[in-house]
Protein backbone atom coordinates (compact mmCIF):
# COMPACT_ATOMS: atom_id res chain seq x y z
CA UNK A 1 0.00 0.00 0.00
CA UNK A 2 1.53 3.27 -1.14
CA UNK A 3 1.91 5.84 1.55
CA UNK A 4 1.12 9.38 0.68
CA UNK A 5 4.22 11.58 0.62
CA UNK A 6 4.59 13.75 3.67
CA UNK A 7 3.23 17.21 2.95
CA UNK A 8 6.03 19.68 2.47
CA UNK A 9 6.39 22.37 5.09
CA UNK A 10 3.93 25.05 3.99
CA UNK A 11 5.61 28.43 3.52
CA UNK A 12 4.73 30.98 6.18
CA UNK A 13 1.89 33.14 4.90
CA UNK A 14 3.04 36.57 3.79
CA UNK A 15 2.34 39.30 6.33
CA UNK A 16 0.76 42.17 4.43
CA UNK A 17 2.30 44.58 6.91
CA UNK A 18 5.87 43.69 5.90
CA UNK A 19 5.92 46.47 3.31
CA UNK A 20 5.51 49.04 6.08
CA UNK A 21 8.54 47.82 8.02
CA UNK A 22 10.84 50.69 6.91
CA UNK A 23 8.25 53.19 8.18
CA UNK A 24 7.77 51.27 11.43
CA UNK A 25 11.56 51.25 11.93
CA UNK A 26 11.81 54.96 11.23
CA UNK A 27 9.03 55.79 13.69
CA UNK A 28 10.40 53.51 16.40
CA UNK A 29 13.82 55.07 15.92
CA UNK A 30 12.33 58.50 16.45
CA UNK A 31 10.52 57.37 19.61
CA UNK A 32 13.60 55.59 20.99
CA UNK A 33 15.43 58.92 20.92
CA UNK A 34 13.26 60.00 23.86
CA UNK A 35 11.61 62.86 21.96
CA UNK A 36 7.90 63.58 22.08
CA UNK A 37 5.69 61.93 19.49
CA UNK A 38 4.73 64.66 17.01
CA UNK A 39 2.03 62.55 15.38
CA UNK A 40 -0.05 61.53 18.40
CA UNK A 41 -0.36 64.68 20.48
CA UNK A 42 -3.54 64.69 22.54
CA UNK A 43 -5.19 68.03 23.29
CA UNK A 44 -7.04 67.68 26.57
CA UNK A 45 -8.90 70.97 26.39
CA UNK A 46 -9.37 73.59 23.71
CA UNK A 47 -9.61 77.03 25.29
CA UNK A 48 -9.89 79.11 22.11
CA UNK A 49 -8.80 79.02 18.45
CA UNK A 50 -5.25 79.78 19.63
CA UNK A 51 -4.92 78.06 23.04
CA UNK A 52 -5.17 74.44 24.21
CA UNK A 53 -4.33 72.42 27.30
CA UNK A 54 -2.04 69.42 26.85
CA UNK A 55 -1.61 67.50 30.09
CA UNK A 56 -1.50 70.32 32.61
CA UNK A 57 0.08 73.04 30.54
CA UNK A 58 -1.30 75.68 28.21
CA UNK A 59 0.09 75.76 24.69
CA UNK A 60 -0.29 78.26 21.87
CA UNK A 61 -1.75 76.69 18.73
CA UNK A 62 0.29 77.72 15.69
CA UNK A 63 -0.53 74.88 13.33
CA UNK A 64 -4.30 74.42 13.03
CA UNK A 65 -5.33 75.98 9.66
CA UNK A 66 -7.99 77.69 11.77
CA UNK A 67 -7.16 80.85 9.81
CA UNK A 68 -10.17 82.96 10.64
CA UNK A 69 -10.66 81.69 14.19
CA UNK A 70 -14.33 80.79 13.66
CA UNK A 71 -14.38 77.65 15.84
CA UNK A 72 -15.55 79.53 18.94
CA UNK A 73 -17.46 82.33 17.26
CA UNK A 74 -20.62 82.77 19.43
CA UNK A 75 -22.99 82.97 16.43
CA UNK A 76 -21.46 79.86 14.86
CA UNK A 77 -21.64 77.86 18.08
CA UNK A 78 -25.24 79.01 18.76
CA UNK A 79 -26.35 77.93 15.26
CA UNK A 80 -24.87 74.50 15.85
CA UNK A 81 -26.54 74.07 19.25
CA UNK A 82 -29.90 75.03 17.80
CA UNK A 83 -29.55 72.54 14.92
CA UNK A 84 -28.45 69.79 17.30
CA UNK A 85 -31.61 70.34 19.34
CA UNK A 86 -33.95 70.64 16.38
CA UNK A 87 -32.51 68.12 13.90
CA UNK A 88 -30.62 65.62 16.05
CA UNK A 89 -27.10 64.27 16.12
CA UNK A 90 -26.77 62.90 12.59
CA UNK A 91 -28.57 62.33 9.30
CA UNK A 92 -27.80 58.62 8.88
CA UNK A 93 -28.05 58.98 5.13
CA UNK A 94 -26.56 60.00 1.81
CA UNK A 95 -27.26 63.42 0.35
CA UNK A 96 -29.24 61.72 -2.46
CA UNK A 97 -31.38 59.65 -0.10
CA UNK A 98 -32.53 60.85 3.33
CA UNK A 99 -29.45 62.98 4.11
CA UNK A 100 -30.38 66.39 2.70
CA UNK A 101 -31.92 68.59 5.41
CA UNK A 102 -32.86 72.23 5.34
CA UNK A 103 -29.41 72.90 6.83
CA UNK A 104 -27.55 71.37 3.87
CA UNK A 105 -29.63 73.46 1.47
CA UNK A 106 -28.94 76.59 3.56
CA UNK A 107 -25.23 75.79 3.57
CA UNK A 108 -25.24 75.56 -0.25
CA UNK A 109 -27.18 78.84 -0.43
CA UNK A 110 -24.54 80.49 1.79
CA UNK A 111 -21.81 79.23 -0.57
CA UNK A 112 -23.65 80.54 -3.65
CA UNK A 113 -23.88 83.94 -1.97
CA UNK A 114 -20.28 83.88 -0.79
CA UNK A 115 -18.90 83.03 -4.24
CA UNK A 116 -21.63 84.72 -6.29
CA UNK A 117 -21.96 81.54 -8.33
CA UNK A 118 -25.00 79.65 -9.60
CA UNK A 119 -24.33 76.22 -8.12
CA UNK A 120 -22.87 74.79 -4.92
CA UNK A 121 -22.50 71.20 -3.80
CA UNK A 122 -21.56 70.25 -0.22
CA UNK A 123 -19.54 67.06 0.41
CA UNK A 124 -18.79 65.44 3.76
CA UNK A 125 -15.07 66.37 3.61
CA UNK A 126 -12.80 68.50 1.45
CA UNK A 127 -10.93 65.34 0.52
CA UNK A 128 -14.13 63.89 -0.90
CA UNK A 129 -14.90 67.08 -2.84
CA UNK A 130 -11.65 66.71 -4.79
CA UNK A 131 -12.09 62.97 -5.07
CA UNK A 132 -15.61 63.51 -6.39
CA UNK A 133 -14.70 66.17 -8.94
CA UNK A 134 -11.62 64.54 -10.46
CA UNK A 135 -13.01 61.01 -10.64
CA UNK A 136 -16.41 61.96 -12.08
CA UNK A 137 -15.62 64.82 -14.42
CA UNK A 138 -12.74 63.47 -16.50
CA UNK A 139 -13.40 60.09 -18.09
CA UNK A 140 -11.63 57.77 -20.50
CA UNK A 141 -9.94 59.72 -23.27
CA UNK A 142 -10.00 62.97 -21.25
CA UNK A 143 -6.93 64.57 -19.73
CA UNK A 144 -6.34 66.01 -16.28
CA UNK A 145 -3.35 68.34 -16.20
CA UNK A 146 -2.24 68.99 -12.63
CA UNK A 147 0.52 70.70 -10.69
CA UNK A 148 3.14 68.20 -9.50
CA UNK A 149 2.72 69.47 -5.91
CA UNK A 150 -1.05 68.93 -5.89
CA UNK A 151 -2.72 67.76 -2.69
CA UNK A 152 -3.15 64.02 -2.12
CA UNK A 153 -6.93 64.32 -2.55
CA UNK A 154 -6.42 65.57 -6.13
CA UNK A 155 -4.01 62.76 -6.96
CA UNK A 156 -6.32 60.20 -5.36
CA UNK A 157 -9.30 61.52 -7.32
CA UNK A 158 -7.27 61.15 -10.51
CA UNK A 159 -6.28 57.59 -9.58
CA UNK A 160 -9.95 56.76 -9.02
CA UNK A 161 -11.05 57.94 -12.46
CA UNK A 162 -10.15 56.87 -15.98
CA UNK A 163 -8.64 60.02 -17.45
CA UNK A 164 -5.03 60.32 -18.54
CA UNK A 165 -3.07 62.24 -15.93
CA UNK A 166 -0.38 64.74 -16.89
CA UNK A 167 1.77 66.60 -14.36
CA UNK A 168 3.48 69.92 -14.86
CA UNK A 169 6.29 71.40 -12.79
CA UNK A 170 5.10 73.19 -9.68
CA UNK A 171 3.84 76.72 -10.45
CA UNK A 172 5.64 76.68 -13.85
CA UNK A 173 3.44 78.48 -16.41
CA UNK A 174 5.66 77.63 -19.41
CA UNK A 175 5.69 73.94 -18.46
CA UNK A 176 1.89 73.91 -18.17
CA UNK A 177 1.60 75.53 -21.61
CA UNK A 178 4.01 73.02 -23.15
CA UNK A 179 2.13 70.03 -21.74
CA UNK A 180 -1.24 71.40 -22.81
CA UNK A 181 0.10 71.64 -26.38
CA UNK A 182 0.83 67.91 -26.34
CA UNK A 183 -2.73 66.87 -25.46
CA UNK A 184 -4.44 65.41 -28.54
CA UNK A 185 -6.69 67.85 -30.33
CA UNK A 186 -10.34 67.54 -29.37
CA UNK A 187 -9.71 65.70 -26.10
CA UNK A 188 -11.48 66.99 -22.97
CA UNK A 189 -9.06 68.80 -20.66
CA UNK A 190 -9.26 69.76 -16.99
CA UNK A 191 -6.46 71.87 -15.52
CA UNK A 192 -6.27 71.55 -11.73
CA UNK A 193 -4.59 74.29 -9.70
CA UNK A 194 -4.44 75.36 -6.07
CA UNK A 195 -4.55 78.95 -4.86
CA UNK A 196 -2.18 78.33 -1.93
CA UNK A 197 -0.01 75.19 -1.73
CA UNK A 198 -0.13 73.96 1.81
CA UNK A 199 3.37 72.59 2.33
CA UNK A 200 5.33 75.85 2.18
CA UNK A 201 2.42 78.27 1.75
CA UNK A 202 3.36 79.58 -1.68
CA UNK A 203 0.77 81.08 -4.02
CA UNK A 204 0.10 80.05 -7.64
CA UNK A 205 0.44 82.60 -10.46
CA UNK A 206 -3.23 82.07 -11.26
CA UNK A 207 -3.67 84.98 -13.70
CA UNK A 208 -1.04 83.52 -16.05
CA UNK A 209 -1.97 79.87 -15.50
CA UNK A 210 -5.68 80.32 -16.04
CA UNK A 211 -5.00 82.36 -19.20
CA UNK A 212 -2.80 79.57 -20.59
CA UNK A 213 -5.37 76.91 -19.70
CA UNK A 214 -8.24 78.83 -21.27
CA UNK A 215 -6.22 79.52 -24.43
CA UNK A 216 -5.80 75.75 -24.77
CA UNK A 217 -9.55 75.20 -24.41
CA UNK A 218 -9.30 73.51 -20.99
CA UNK A 219 -11.74 73.69 -18.09
CA UNK A 220 -10.13 74.99 -14.91
CA UNK A 221 -10.60 73.86 -11.30
CA UNK A 222 -8.93 75.76 -8.46
CA UNK A 223 -8.67 74.38 -4.94
CA UNK A 224 -8.85 77.34 -2.56
CA UNK A 225 -8.72 75.35 0.70
CA UNK A 226 -5.90 77.45 2.17
CA UNK A 227 -7.02 80.80 0.77
CA UNK A 228 -10.75 81.03 1.49
CA UNK A 229 -11.59 83.80 3.92
CA UNK A 230 -8.62 86.09 3.44
CA UNK A 231 -7.55 86.39 -0.23
CA UNK A 232 -9.40 88.80 -2.49
CA UNK A 233 -11.77 91.67 -1.77
CA UNK A 234 -14.51 89.28 -0.58
CA UNK A 235 -12.27 86.54 0.82
CA UNK A 236 -13.09 84.10 -1.97
CA UNK A 237 -9.54 83.05 -2.64
CA UNK A 238 -6.48 83.60 -4.77
CA UNK A 239 -8.58 83.37 -7.94
CA UNK A 240 -10.50 86.44 -6.80
CA UNK A 241 -7.34 88.32 -5.87
CA UNK A 242 -5.87 87.40 -9.29
CA UNK A 243 -8.98 88.69 -11.10
CA UNK A 244 -9.79 85.42 -12.90
CA UNK A 245 -13.21 84.69 -11.41
CA UNK A 246 -14.89 84.68 -14.82
CA UNK A 247 -12.47 82.06 -16.20
CA UNK A 248 -12.48 79.51 -13.38
CA UNK A 249 -15.02 76.72 -13.97
CA UNK A 250 -14.88 75.08 -10.56
CA UNK A 251 -13.73 76.24 -7.15
CA UNK A 252 -13.11 73.47 -4.62
CA UNK A 253 -12.97 74.27 -0.95
CA UNK A 254 -13.20 72.97 2.58
CA UNK A 255 -14.99 73.85 5.80
CA UNK A 256 -12.13 72.50 7.92
CA UNK A 257 -9.91 75.56 7.64
CA UNK A 258 -11.25 79.12 7.60
CA UNK A 259 -14.89 78.02 8.06
CA UNK A 260 -13.86 76.19 11.24
CA UNK A 261 -15.92 72.99 10.95
CA UNK A 262 -15.56 69.98 8.61
CA UNK A 263 -16.87 69.34 5.11
CA UNK A 264 -16.04 70.17 1.52
CA UNK A 265 -17.65 71.85 -1.45
CA UNK A 266 -17.50 72.71 -5.11
CA UNK A 267 -19.04 75.87 -6.59
CA UNK A 268 -19.53 76.50 -10.30
CA UNK A 269 -21.49 78.45 -12.91
CA UNK A 270 -21.67 75.54 -15.32
CA UNK A 271 -25.34 75.03 -16.27
CA UNK A 272 -25.05 71.23 -16.07
CA UNK A 273 -23.12 71.21 -12.79
CA UNK A 274 -25.82 69.56 -10.68
CA UNK A 275 -25.61 66.28 -12.61
CA UNK A 276 -22.48 65.66 -10.50
CA UNK A 277 -24.86 64.85 -7.65
CA UNK A 278 -25.71 61.64 -9.50
CA UNK A 279 -22.32 60.64 -10.89
CA UNK A 280 -19.88 61.67 -8.16
CA UNK A 281 -19.45 58.54 -6.06
CA UNK A 282 -17.80 60.23 -3.02
CA UNK A 283 -20.95 62.38 -2.87
CA UNK A 284 -23.48 59.58 -3.36
CA UNK A 285 -21.98 56.76 -1.33
CA UNK A 286 -21.35 58.45 2.01
CA UNK A 287 -23.48 59.88 4.79
CA UNK A 288 -24.09 63.62 4.75
CA UNK A 289 -22.73 66.05 7.33
CA UNK A 290 -24.49 66.18 10.72
CA UNK A 291 -27.08 68.99 11.12
CA UNK A 292 -24.96 70.86 13.68
CA UNK A 293 -21.99 70.91 11.28
CA UNK A 294 -23.90 72.37 8.33
CA UNK A 295 -25.61 74.91 10.61
CA UNK A 296 -22.24 76.06 12.04
CA UNK A 297 -20.76 76.13 8.53
CA UNK A 298 -23.53 78.23 7.00
CA UNK A 299 -23.36 80.73 9.88
CA UNK A 300 -19.57 80.91 9.55
CA UNK A 301 -19.57 81.35 5.75
CA UNK A 302 -22.04 84.24 6.03
CA UNK A 303 -19.89 85.94 8.67
CA UNK A 304 -16.74 85.46 6.58
CA UNK A 305 -18.27 87.60 3.83
CA UNK A 306 -17.93 90.62 6.08
CA UNK A 307 -14.76 89.73 7.97
CA UNK A 308 -12.61 92.52 6.52
CA UNK A 309 -10.97 93.48 9.81
CA UNK A 310 -10.09 89.90 10.65
CA UNK A 311 -8.60 89.44 7.18
CA UNK A 312 -6.44 92.52 7.55
CA UNK A 313 -5.27 91.39 10.97
CA UNK A 314 -4.42 87.87 9.78
CA UNK A 315 -2.22 89.33 7.06
CA UNK A 316 -0.50 91.65 9.54
CA UNK A 317 0.15 88.72 11.91
CA UNK A 318 1.45 86.50 9.09
CA UNK A 319 3.85 89.16 7.82
CA UNK A 320 5.11 89.89 11.34
CA UNK A 321 5.67 86.18 11.96
CA UNK A 322 7.56 85.76 8.69
CA UNK A 323 9.82 88.77 9.13
CA UNK A 324 10.38 88.00 12.83
CA UNK A 325 11.42 84.39 12.26
CA UNK A 326 13.59 85.45 9.38
CA UNK A 327 15.30 88.15 11.45
CA UNK A 328 15.90 85.51 14.13
CA UNK A 329 17.85 83.48 11.57
CA UNK A 330 15.39 80.73 10.64
CA UNK A 331 15.28 79.46 7.05
CA UNK A 332 11.77 79.82 5.68
CA UNK A 333 9.94 78.14 2.80
CA UNK A 334 9.09 81.40 1.03
CA UNK A 335 10.88 84.73 0.54
CA UNK A 336 7.93 86.70 1.87
CA UNK A 337 4.69 85.85 3.69
CA UNK A 338 2.65 84.72 0.68
CA UNK A 339 -0.16 83.26 2.80
CA UNK A 340 -0.92 82.50 6.46
CA UNK A 341 1.33 79.42 6.28
CA UNK A 342 4.92 80.02 7.39
CA UNK A 343 7.06 76.92 6.83
CA UNK A 344 10.37 76.64 8.67
CA UNK A 345 13.02 74.48 6.99
CA UNK A 346 14.87 71.99 9.17
CA UNK A 347 18.18 70.44 8.13
CA UNK A 348 17.12 66.85 8.80
CA UNK A 349 14.48 64.66 10.42
CA UNK A 350 16.27 64.37 13.78
CA UNK A 351 16.71 68.12 14.21
CA UNK A 352 13.13 68.62 13.10
CA UNK A 353 11.87 66.23 15.81
CA UNK A 354 14.16 67.85 18.44
CA UNK A 355 12.93 71.31 17.50
CA UNK A 356 9.29 70.18 17.56
CA UNK A 357 9.75 68.73 21.05
CA UNK A 358 11.54 71.87 22.26
CA UNK A 359 8.68 74.00 20.95
CA UNK A 360 6.11 71.90 22.82
CA UNK A 361 8.21 72.28 25.98
CA UNK A 362 8.07 76.04 25.34
CA UNK A 363 4.29 75.79 24.92
CA UNK A 364 4.02 76.15 21.13
CA UNK A 365 2.32 73.66 18.81
CA UNK A 366 3.32 73.63 15.13
CA UNK A 367 2.94 70.86 12.51
CA UNK A 368 5.84 68.54 11.97
CA UNK A 369 5.23 67.59 8.34
CA UNK A 370 5.60 63.83 7.86
CA UNK A 371 8.61 63.30 5.55
CA UNK A 372 6.56 61.32 3.02
CA UNK A 373 4.44 64.44 2.34
CA UNK A 374 7.43 66.51 1.23
CA UNK A 375 10.20 64.20 -0.02
CA UNK A 376 13.60 65.81 0.45
CA UNK A 377 12.28 68.55 2.74
CA UNK A 378 11.95 68.63 6.53
CA UNK A 379 9.42 71.24 7.51
CA UNK A 380 7.97 72.61 10.70
CA UNK A 381 4.86 74.34 9.47
CA UNK A 382 3.18 77.24 11.25
CA UNK A 383 -0.21 78.61 10.31
CA UNK A 384 -1.49 81.85 11.78
CA UNK A 385 -4.98 82.59 13.01
CA UNK A 386 -6.82 85.92 12.94
CA UNK A 387 -7.18 85.48 16.73
CA UNK A 388 -3.40 85.58 17.26
CA UNK A 389 -2.61 89.06 18.59
CA UNK A 390 0.57 90.76 17.45
CA UNK A 391 1.87 90.22 21.00
CA UNK A 392 1.15 86.51 20.54
CA UNK A 393 3.25 86.56 17.38
CA UNK A 394 6.16 88.20 19.20
CA UNK A 395 5.87 85.63 21.98
CA UNK A 396 5.86 82.75 19.44
CA UNK A 397 9.03 84.12 17.82
CA UNK A 398 10.74 84.45 21.22
CA UNK A 399 9.84 80.84 22.01
CA UNK A 400 11.14 79.72 18.61
CA UNK A 401 14.51 81.33 19.45
CA UNK A 402 14.72 79.58 22.82
CA UNK A 403 13.62 76.26 21.31
CA UNK A 404 16.32 76.52 18.63
CA UNK A 405 18.95 76.91 21.36
CA UNK A 406 17.58 73.86 23.20
CA UNK A 407 17.41 71.80 20.00
CA UNK A 408 20.89 72.79 18.77
CA UNK A 409 19.40 74.21 15.60
CA UNK A 410 21.94 76.53 14.01
CA UNK A 411 20.47 79.91 13.06
CA UNK A 412 21.92 82.13 10.36
CA UNK A 413 23.03 85.74 10.70
Amino acid sequence: MATAPLPEEAPAPADLFDKFQPLIDQYEGLMASGLRDPFHLKMDKILSPTRAIVGNREIMLVGTYNYMGMTFDPDVVAAGKRALDEFGAGTTGSRVLNGTYQGHAECEAALRDFYQMDHAMVFSTGYQANLGLMSALAGRGDYIILDADSHASIYDGCAMGNADIVRFRHNDVADLEKRLRRVPEGAGKLVVLEGVYSMVGDVAPLAEMVAVAKAAGAMVAVDEAHAMGFFGENGRGVFEAAGVEADVDFVVGTFSKSVGTVGGFIVSNHPKFDVLRFVSRPYVYTASLPPAVVACSAASIRKLMHARDKRAHLWAASRRMHSGLRAAGFTLGTETAESAIIAVNMPDQETSARMWTALIEEGVYVNMVPPQATPGLHLLRCSLCAEHSLDDVDEIIARFRRAAATADLPLSG
Binding site: Y143, A148, C158, A159, A163, D164, I165, V166, R167, R169, K178, R179, R182, V183, P184, E185, P375, G376
Partner: protein, 85 residues
Protein backbone atom coordinates in the same frame (compact mmCIF):
# COMPACT_ATOMS: atom_id res chain seq x y z
CA UNK B 1 12.37 41.86 -37.85
CA UNK B 2 12.10 38.65 -35.92
CA UNK B 3 13.30 37.92 -32.43
CA UNK B 4 12.65 41.36 -30.98
CA UNK B 5 12.98 41.12 -27.21
CA UNK B 6 9.68 41.08 -25.34
CA UNK B 7 8.32 44.52 -24.64
CA UNK B 8 10.04 46.16 -27.56
CA UNK B 9 9.18 46.83 -31.16
CA UNK B 10 11.47 47.59 -34.04
CA UNK B 11 10.54 51.25 -33.66
CA UNK B 12 11.53 51.38 -30.00
CA UNK B 13 14.72 49.57 -30.91
CA UNK B 14 15.25 52.54 -33.18
CA UNK B 15 14.91 55.04 -30.32
CA UNK B 16 16.63 52.82 -27.77
CA UNK B 17 20.16 54.25 -28.12
CA UNK B 18 18.93 57.82 -27.53
CA UNK B 19 16.60 56.67 -24.75
CA UNK B 20 19.54 55.08 -22.97
CA UNK B 21 21.51 58.32 -23.32
CA UNK B 22 18.64 60.17 -21.60
CA UNK B 23 18.38 57.61 -18.82
CA UNK B 24 22.15 57.35 -18.22
CA UNK B 25 22.33 60.41 -15.86
CA UNK B 26 19.69 58.68 -13.68
CA UNK B 27 21.79 55.49 -13.57
CA UNK B 28 23.37 56.14 -10.17
CA UNK B 29 24.42 52.53 -9.75
CA UNK B 30 26.30 52.52 -13.05
CA UNK B 31 24.72 49.30 -14.33
CA UNK B 32 24.63 48.32 -18.00
CA UNK B 33 21.42 49.58 -19.62
CA UNK B 34 19.40 47.75 -22.26
CA UNK B 35 15.77 47.15 -23.21
CA UNK B 36 15.28 44.73 -20.33
CA UNK B 37 16.59 47.05 -17.58
CA UNK B 38 13.84 47.57 -14.98
CA UNK B 39 13.25 51.12 -13.69
CA UNK B 40 12.19 50.05 -10.21
CA UNK B 41 14.27 46.93 -9.61
CA UNK B 42 17.49 47.64 -11.53
CA UNK B 43 17.71 51.44 -11.50
CA UNK B 44 15.91 51.70 -8.12
CA UNK B 45 14.35 55.05 -9.04
CA UNK B 46 12.17 56.71 -6.40
CA UNK B 47 8.92 58.40 -7.41
CA UNK B 48 10.40 61.91 -7.56
CA UNK B 49 13.28 60.79 -9.78
CA UNK B 50 10.85 58.94 -12.02
CA UNK B 51 8.98 62.19 -12.50
CA UNK B 52 12.13 64.00 -13.61
CA UNK B 53 13.04 61.19 -15.98
CA UNK B 54 9.53 61.08 -17.44
CA UNK B 55 9.70 64.84 -18.05
CA UNK B 56 13.04 64.41 -19.88
CA UNK B 57 11.62 61.70 -22.14
CA UNK B 58 8.45 63.71 -22.78
CA UNK B 59 10.47 66.78 -23.75
CA UNK B 60 12.85 64.81 -25.99
CA UNK B 61 10.05 63.34 -28.07
CA UNK B 62 7.40 66.02 -27.47
CA UNK B 63 4.93 63.42 -26.20
CA UNK B 64 2.79 62.75 -23.13
CA UNK B 65 3.53 59.79 -20.88
CA UNK B 66 0.47 59.92 -18.62
CA UNK B 67 1.09 59.29 -14.93
CA UNK B 68 -1.53 56.54 -14.93
CA UNK B 69 0.44 54.70 -17.64
CA UNK B 70 3.69 54.64 -15.66
CA UNK B 71 2.97 51.42 -13.72
CA UNK B 72 2.91 49.63 -17.11
CA UNK B 73 6.40 50.85 -17.93
CA UNK B 74 8.53 48.32 -16.15
CA UNK B 75 11.56 48.23 -18.40
CA UNK B 76 13.30 50.66 -20.73
CA UNK B 77 11.92 48.60 -23.63
CA UNK B 78 8.38 49.30 -22.45
CA UNK B 79 8.70 53.03 -23.22
CA UNK B 80 6.45 53.48 -26.21
CA UNK B 81 7.63 54.73 -29.56
CA UNK B 82 6.90 58.43 -29.88
CA UNK B 83 3.86 59.13 -31.99
CA UNK B 84 4.16 62.68 -33.22
CA UNK B 85 0.92 64.35 -34.07
Amino acid sequence: MTDTPPGTTDITTGILPRLIEIIEPFNKKGIALDATTSFANDLELDSLTVMDLVAEIEDEYDIILPVNMLPDLETIGDVPAPSRR
